[in-house]
């Protein structure tokens, strides 16, 4: 592992280090400028001279194309994605960007770049796939090209996509609570507007309002928690906070602060009981946007939780479990059970996917809980940090493959939506007959979501469960081998894993209706 290079903003190496973000920034400027290019002129006062300055006026043919913003956004996000990939292939250099007074602002390392891959990949796919879908009449009508929203409205949509990516990548890089919060709010506000983007339809406005109100309350609570942490530690730096936490982390003030922060990020990952806005938001938003909420936005929440819980509030020694262990464990168990059970009862495929996404959140929280349970028997489970690394690897892998099949499922729905269906399970009926390719894709996504081998979803779940079982085994192995299988009851982690896996069956309802009537009868 190479050494960390420390640089100040706008000095040598700054541009190379932050190239993906700068690409996004450039793309955002282009999205503002290019659709406004036209034959506009500027009259020099007091003369008859008109100087063409190309902004406004009658627009050119290319700049009035409704698809132009989508192309710009897709290319921007795509090239940011490729840039990160390229950096990985060249061997990543770890760079820490500090302010002039030496405060750590942004840290570029493999971990943050992996998350950026998730964000950029999901948003690029969503931007590209919503190219022909922003229609005047809202969800569910098939209309020709000239009835797409005009390109100024389109530009709004794609600017929000790009700012969302920018905010998320700031969250990924942040080393300071203030920077973290800025990035979080940039991404959040972008998603609020994206959800409510179909303002002509009642559903869109309603879901946007709900999402905004619940989200801003959660953000406020989270901000309150951050301020408490600041009050207690006297610093916003992660490194300072972590050091202070190790010394006096079990006093009331930081624990309440961490709890409030948990609320803020709990909303982002849509963990129960902060998930109530999620199904409405997913159902009201356009499918690509819902897909972004379920993948990129969720990954951002998980990232925030990892930062706050494992880096700031991590237990210092291996003989005590983390203070938040019980709280997070309970949240994980409730979330996955609730999500899966609620998914069984919903008739709207988007709501079902939303609840399944709640369940997935619970599932990842369980993995995070496992990392927090440090007090295992090292003789049985082996090296503690190796096990933690295994669980974190599994978590990352799960987030990455989630982009593929969760977003994929939403994109299938988005195609159905623009054909006039997609809001009821029954409208998926006979899909195999009408659109064999879509049906096969949907089938693969669904069994992957349900965790059936040999799909990626199985492998990622297996890895997560293996991590949890490993921790649980390390935890209870000694007790069991000494006698008393009742030790199993003390450690519910294994059961939690079972829950997570067994309840994924709801996806089969969706699968079934999409395959129904595919015979000739």
């Amino acid at each position: 592992m190479s050494e960390i290079t420390t640089i100040e903003p706008f000095t040598e190496g700054f541009v190379e280090a932050l190239l993906p973000e700068l690409i996004l920034f450039t793309g955002m400027l282009l999205l503002i400028l290019v659709p406004n290019l036209g034959k506009g002129t500027f009259r020099i006062p007091g003369t008859q001279l008109r100087l063409p300055w190309l902004l406004g006026g009658t627009r050119f043919k290319f700049s009035s194309d409704p698809r132009l913003p989508a192309w710009i956004a897709s290319i921007t996000l795509g090239s940011a994605f490729l840039n990160v990939l390229y950096v990985f292939s060249q061997g990543l250099e770890r760079v820490l960007i500090v302010s002039e007074s030496g405060k750590e602002l942004l840290l570029i390392n493999g971990f943050s770049r992996i998350f950026e891959l998730i964000f950029f990949g999901a948003l690029a796919l969503a931007a590209f796939s919503s190219m022909n879908r922003l229609q005047v009449k809202g969800i569910g009508s098939k209309i020709p090209e000239n009835e797409l929203y005009n390109n100024r409205r389109q530009a709004d949509f794609y600017i929000l996509m790009v700012t969302c990516a920018l905010g998320m990548s700031v969250v990924a890089l942040a080393q300071d609570l203030f920077v973290l919060f800025i990035g979080l709010e940039l991404a959040s506000f972008s998603t609020y507007v994206l959800v409510a983007f179909l303002k002509e339809s009642k559903v869109g406005v309603e879901s946007g309002m709900k999402y905004f109100i619940v989200g801003s309350v959660a953000s406020g609570v989270g901000l309150y928690g951050l301020s408490m942490l600041y009050l207690w530690a006297g610093s916003l730096q992660f490194s300072v906070l972590a050091a202070t936490f190790a010394v006096s982390g079990t006093t009331a003030l930081p624990l309440i602060g961490i709890g409030f922060v948990l609320v803020g990020f709990g909303f982002k990952v849509s963990a129960a009981p902060f998930h109530f806005a999620a199904p409405d938001a997913y159902a009201g938003a356009m499918s690509p946007v819902a897909g972004v909420l379920a993948t990129a936005s969720k990954a951002m929440g998980m990232l925030g939780l990892v930062r706050m819980l494992l880096i700031v509030a991590a237990p210092e020694s291996s003989d005590g479990s983390a203070v938040w262990l019980v709280c997070l464990g309970a949240m994980a168990a409730v979330t996955m059970t609730w999500g899966n059970l609620a998914a069984l009862g919903s008739d709207n495929p988007k709501r079902m996917l939303a609840y399944s996404s709640v369940a997935h959140a619970g599932y990842m929280l369980a993995a995070l809980t496992a990392v927090g349970a440090w007090n295992w028997d090292a003789a049985v489970a082996g090296d503690a940090s190796a096990a933690a690394v295994a669980v974190m690897t599994a978590l990352l892998f799960h987030l990455v493959v989630l982009v593929a099949f969760k977003l994929g499922a939403f994109l299938v729905l988005s195609i159905l939506e623009s054909e006039g269906g997609g809001s009821r399970l029954s409208s998926l009926g006979g899909l195999a007959k009408r659109e064999p390719l879509l049906a096969v894709a949907m089938f693969i996504f669904m069994i992957s979501l349900a965790g059936v081998p040999p799909m990626a979803g199985f492998l990622s779940k297996l890895l997560v469960i293996m991590g949890i079982v490993r921790v649980a085994v390390g935890d209870m192995g000694a007790e069991i081998s000494d006698g008393g299988i009742y030790a199993l009851g003390d450690h519910a982690l294994g059961l939690v894993a079972c829950l997570a896996y067994g309840h994924q069956l709801s996806h089969f309802r969706l699968l079934l209706s999409s395959c129904r009537r595919c015979d000739v009868l």
Partner: protein, 546 residues
């Protein structure tokens, strides 16, 4: 031929079916209809190639392997490729005398199923799915890696799910969901057991084929070897309590698949709704995955726990045996009756295992094999009944012998084979199970009057089979009653492909009934080997022993 021959057994049918399905997926409706015939021929040829390979293996043409004398935990055609190195996952395949008869059975049933359901609708997609089913089943039997085993175990669900969902009867949606959820939930428990087993391995002594990140392995031969060493040192491998827990977790997955009472309720629903081809493979091979898994994992790894749970298994087996037979008496649906008779016969396997006698285990193995030939014939008869009479009710018609002599003869033969007529394959397994049970009772010092239960079941089995035959085939004399579902159309007999399939199945039922040693020798040898290699060193003087 080199050791790699068992690789194409799995890979070839799976790849071939994916290629065929991809080919069909682009075609439109009329194109599919035209493609059905070439695809049917292609799948038949592919499955015959597999049959030739496995038969060649049996006759020592390929590999020159004698299937007898393979000592415990040794495998022929063993091949291992590294798959996920960090976790110790390998693509490892191999066969011993436990898995080889099952592999042969799968490759034998595949072409027979294709012939028996020659005119199935949507043939262009149906036959490739059958082929995929065969590939997944072979994969279960040849895989020697826990991860790979689980992947194939679940992979068998997908083609079967589609067979029931797309080609099934009126209530197929419910049946396919129930089938999937039951077996999937059970196998999740099994998966947790497998992972727990994985992590309870001792990483201190370096294991062969261990993962670079975890220090543990999924490799079945390595784990079995390790367990054997621990167990025969007088310890319980992994400790007494955890061994019991793991045994129960793994057994749950296998008992649901088998299925044993009280986990059997998915089977009648799945069978009644499944198409004929699906039923044939489901009853013929898929149920045996449960018994195979029991021998391969919990019994080989945890003999102490097997002894501990012996009585529980015996009770479950007895209850399945008796319950399945009694429920059969009350059925009015022909296929449901046959499905419950499968539950009863699987009870025989479980009782054979629970006796812990070499004879009982050989009986269980031979029952797996014999039932794998007889039950497809039963379901082929049911399928023909449904296909030609559009009804499955036993009371729907009388005097079938007059209208449809071929169907009546096949039905009579299959029914007789299933009720255990001497000189047919099923009888051999049943008589062996009785002898083993007698040994067991004598060794335990229990009253031999416990034999009365299973003996009465034979009578009950004969009763329900003969009664249903009497009602459908013979009753009515000259005044026959064609089924009302035909609406007065002339009563047809079965078609030529069906006749051919019936003849093949009947022929092999007789062959393995008259000359059981063809398959029984290697099974008997396998039980000798496992008793010499595992049970005697580990349990020492266990209860009696024949």
């Amino acid at each position: 031929m080199d050791d790699w021959i068992s690789m194409p057994l799995v890979g070839f049918p799976l790849v071939a079916s994916i290629v065929l399905l991809a080919f069909v997926s682009n075609a439109n409706e009329s194109m599919r209809r035209r493609l059905a015939n070439p695809i049917r021929m292609a799948t038949l040829v592919f499955s015959l190639v597999l049959l030739v390979i496995t038969t060649g293996m049996f006759f020592q043409y390929f590999g020159n392997v004698s299937w007898e004398g393979i000592s415990f935990n040794n495998y022929e055609f063993l091949h291992r490729y590294s798959w996920m190195e960090s976790l110790g996952i390998h693509w490892s395949v191999g066969m011993d005398a436990l898995s080889f008869p099952m592999v042969w059975l799968t490759t034998f049933l595949l072409p027979v199923t294709i012939i028996a359901t020659w005119n199935e609708k949507n043939g262009a997609t149906y036959f490739p799915i059958l082929l995929a089913m065969g590939g997944a089943l072979i994969g279960v039997f040849v895989s020697l890696d826990l991860f790979m085993f689980y992947v194939f175990w679940e992979l068998t669900l997908i083609p079967m799910f589609f067979l029931i969902l797309v080609w099934g009867g009126a209530d197929r949606k419910y049946a396919s969901q129930k089938f999937f959820i039951y077996t999937f939930t059970a196998s999740v428990v099994m998966l947790l057991g497998l992972i727990t087993l994985y992590f309870f391995q001792d990483p201190v002594n370096p294991l062969d084929y261990a993962g670079s990140m975890t220090g543990r392995t999924f490799d079945i031969p390595t784990i079995t070897q390790h367990a054997l060493m621990e167990n025969s040192n007088g310890n319980w491998y992994l400790g007494a309590n955890i061994q019991k827990v793991l045994f129960a977790m793994l057994m749950l997955g296998f008992l649901v698949k088998l299925p044993a009472v009280p986990f059997h309720t998915w089977l009648p629903d799945a069978h009644v709704q499944a198409p004929t081809g699906g039923s044939m493979l489901l009853a013929g091979v898929m149920l045996k995955m449960g018994a195979y898994g029991m021998f391969r994992l919990p019994i080989s790894l945890f003999p102490h726990a097997l002894q501990y749970f012996q009585l529980a298994l015996l009770i479950i087996g007895m209850v399945s045996l008796v319950w399945g037979a009694i429920v059969c008496l009350g059925q009015t649906n022909l296929k449901k009756m046959v499905a419950y008779s499968s539950v009863s016969h699987m009870g025989v396997i479980l009782v054979g295992i629970a006796t812990m006698q070499p004879m009982g285990w050989a009986a269980a193995l031979f029952m797996m094999f014999a039932h794998g030939i007889i039950s497809p014939m039963l379901f082929a008869v049911c399928g023909a009944f449904k296909h030609h009479y559009h009804s499955m009710e036993i009371g729907a018609m009388r005097g079938m012998a007059k209208h449809s002599p071929w169907l009546a003869t096949s039905m009579m033969f299959a029914w007789m084979a299933s009720l255990g007529l001497p000189l047919l394959a099923g009888f051999v397994a049943e008589i062996m199970m009785f002898i083993a049970l007698w040994y067991f009772l004598a060794a335990e010092g229990w009253s031999v009057f416990w034999m009365v239960g299973p003996a009465l079941v034979l009578a009950v089995t004969a009763a329900y089979y003969l009664w249903s035959m009497q009602r459908t085939i013979f009753e009515g004399g000259d005044e026959t009653q064609p089924p009302s579902s035909l609406h007065g159309a002339p009563v047809p007999d079965i078609a030529n492909p069906e006749k051919l399939a019936m003849l093949i199945l009947a022929f092999f039922t007789i062959v393995f009934g008259v000359m059981p040693w063809i398959a029984l020798d290697m099974m008997h040898d396998w039980t000798i080997q496992i008793f010499e290699g595992l049970i005697l060193p580990v349990l020492g003087n266990f209860n009696g022993g024949a």
